[in-house]
């Protein structure tokens, strides 16, 4: 059912006309007002994303990446402009834009299974029978290889496992867009690499549209079709967008020697550390 566009066909998004984009962020501003002070976090952000595309957003800490993701998720309202999914304006959160949160945010009183099942019941309550929902929950846990721990509670499993369950919970809702907020940020390097491979496999298999926030250059290059680089806040905007023309499936060890990989890596590094190096704001 998920029609996957060829991610290597870069004409699909090179110059997307408005009507063609799957997800469109259109002249979005975001300001937070607290009392009499207003701080502009995002200014005039424009981005079009094609169906099936894997887009990373990279930028220094505090520039507004999570804010941007929350806007797409509908968890925070835009100040001006609009987020459009399939030409419909996003103005509330919903399961078609599932989020994997920075700190897993599994519900600690539910088992691994019940955490995933809760979303499945909510989304497919009317569409699938009880048994189908059970099978679907298990299938998604197996997809992230967490079937063996289905009866454990979040407190009983490792950080990497929690993040897997978070991904399973999001995938099980069959979202149109999967939003990942620094999904591997809190993990050790080995677990992180392992989960990155896993996510690549899942993306290859299901062809979902993914937007992932990261501050890890290698992660961005390895996983993405495009890398969106954000300038420093306040009033951050999109500084540059980089196409990653690496063939898939991508193998970690082969990529690191690949000329295109190195080119992309350097481009992102230059952007982050030369032109928009991190300055600790006084605020």
């Amino acid at each position: 059912m998920i029609a996957r566009l060829d991610p290597h066909d870069h004409t699909t998004h090179a110059n997307l006309r408005p009507g063609q984009a799957f997800l469109r962020i259109d002249h979005v501003d975001k300001a937070f007002t607290r009392g009499s002070t207003t701080s502009v976090v995002l200014k005039d952000v424009n981005l079009s994303i094609a169906r099936g595309e894997y887009v990373s957003i990279i930028g220094h800490s505090g520039c507004g990446k999570s804010t941007l993701l929350n806007l797409i998720a509908g968890l925070t309202p835009v100040t001006s402009g609009a987020v459009l999914l399939e030409d419909k304006e996003v103005n509330a959160p919903g399961p078609e834009r599932a989020v994997v949160f920075q700190n897993h945010s599994l519900l600690p009183w539910l088992t691994v299974y019940d955490n995933v099942r809760m979303g499945v019941d909510k989304v497919f309550g009317r569409l699938k029978s009880r048994n189908e929902r059970h099978e679907w929950t298990l299938a998604n846990l197996d997809l992230v290889q967490m079937g063996h721990a289905k009866d454990k509670r979040p407190a009983e499993i490792s950080g990497g496992m929690k993040q897997r369950v978070g991904i399973a919970r999001a995938l099980a809702m069959e979202p149109k867009v999967l939003l990942l907020d620094e999904p591997f940020g809190a993990l050790d390097a080995l677990t992180r690499a392992h989960l990155q491979d896993e996510v690549m496999k899942i993306h290859a298999k299901l062809g979902n549209t993914v937007i992932m926030i990261t501050h890890d250059v290698d992660e961005a290059v390895l996983l993405s079709d495009r890398i969106v680089m954000m300038t420093n806040g306040p009033a951050a905007r999109i500084g540059e967008v980089l196409d990653v023309r690496l063939p898939r499936p991508r193998l970690r060890l082969e990529c690191v020697k690949n000329a295109e990989y190195l080119r992309c890596r350097e481009a992102v590094m230059r952007f982050l550390y030369e032109r928009h190096s991190f300055v600790e704001s006084a605020a």
């Binding site: 959160p93 519900l107 679907w136 299901l206």
Partner: protein, 303 residues
């Protein structure tokens, strides 16, 4: 559409258990059966010894001191030996029935517990619902919290006249006194628990589009459960404290009224025994709620 995910062969390469070729397994060596049973028993006895013996020693010393202090014939209070002589039947036979008003203290405690169960049950229900409301709304919190903080300090006895005037009947007044004494800590703790629900859980429920009812039942209550049970634990203690005040006006056969009655006929020994009953039951109630709370919030505390 689910077929994409359900194809089992898709997982084979990734999951080692699915490979057809049996991999050489590590040899399983049977460990010698643990000597756990024996040493664990010793350990448990030991820990019981450590928790039970010190309070018994202290109790014995206190009784001794009391005995010595009240030994003289002019002592205002009865010494333990005299209490035992006068009222040991109350201890040894908690469940005798000699007539409608002359029954064992065990029966009296049960009667009082029934009263407390009703008052506290209503307090728990109202307290959690009202607390959830107060915790959800910033303005309700601002408006109501100071008032609750003042009302919660009013002692049970002070509610009595108002309660009687309002209900014009002793039975509901007694239950109201128990209710009004124990409801405040439940409201306040629930509200704090609701306020402390992590934004993450709210985001999760927003993405899932949970209804208000589902949010209340599946997120708010479990997330605030540790706080709620703290409130319930304080509440059950207070409602048991209110029983004497409440039963002063209902009369009948409760343990609270028994004390009032014993005082009016100067049976001091009976009062002391009744106090021991009340203290023991209060202790058990407290532990009971704590135990239920521990069961119910397993996992929640260690997020």
């Amino acid at each position: 559409m689910s077929a994409i995910l359900l194809k089992p062969e898709a997982f084979q390469q990734a999951s080692p258990t699915a490979t057809a070729v049996p991999t050489p397994r590590a040899e399983i060596i049977a460990l010698p059966p643990k000597r756990a049973t024996e040493s664990q028993l010793v350990k448990r006895l030991n820990s019981m010894f450590v928790t039970v013996v010190p309070p018994l020693v202290v109790l014995a010393l206190m009784l001794l001191a009391w005995e010595l202090a009240c030994a003289g014939p002019k002592a205002a209070l009865p010494a333990p030996s005299r209490i035992w002589a006068e009222a040991h039947d109350l201890v040894t036979q908690p469940f005798f029935v000699n007539g409608p008003q002359d029954i064992g203290l065990g029966w009296r405690v049960l009667t009082s517990l029934q009263r407390v169960a009703i008052g506290f049950g209503i307090a728990a229900l109202v307290g959690v619902l009202l607390g959830a409301f107060v915790g959800q709304s910033v303005w309700a919190m601002r408006g109501l919290d100071p008032i609750f903080q003042v009302l919660r300090t009013v002692p049970p006895l002070a509610w009595l006249p108002l309660s009687l005037a309002a209900f014009r009947d002793s039975a509901p007044s007694a239950i109201f006194v128990i209710f009004i004494t124990s409801v405040w800590p439940i409201i306040i703790n629930t509200a704090v628990g609701i306020r402390n629900i992590p934004q993450d859980y709210r985001n999760v429920s927003a993405v899932l589009r949970l209804s208000h009812f589902e949010f209340f039942w599946r997120i708010m209550i479990p997330s605030a459960a540790p706080y709620i049970f703290t409130g319930l634990r304080i509440g059950i203690g207070l409602s048991w404290l209110a029983i004497v005040a409440a039963e002063m006006l209902t009369g009948g056969v409760g343990i609270g009224f028994f004390i009032w009655d014993a005082w009016n006929s100067s049976r001091l020994s009976d009062i002391v025994v009744a106090l021991a009953y009340i203290g023991t039951v209060g202790f058990i109630l407290d532990r009971l709620v704590a135990f239920v709370g521990e069961l119910a919030t397993r996992g929640t505390a260690t997020a």
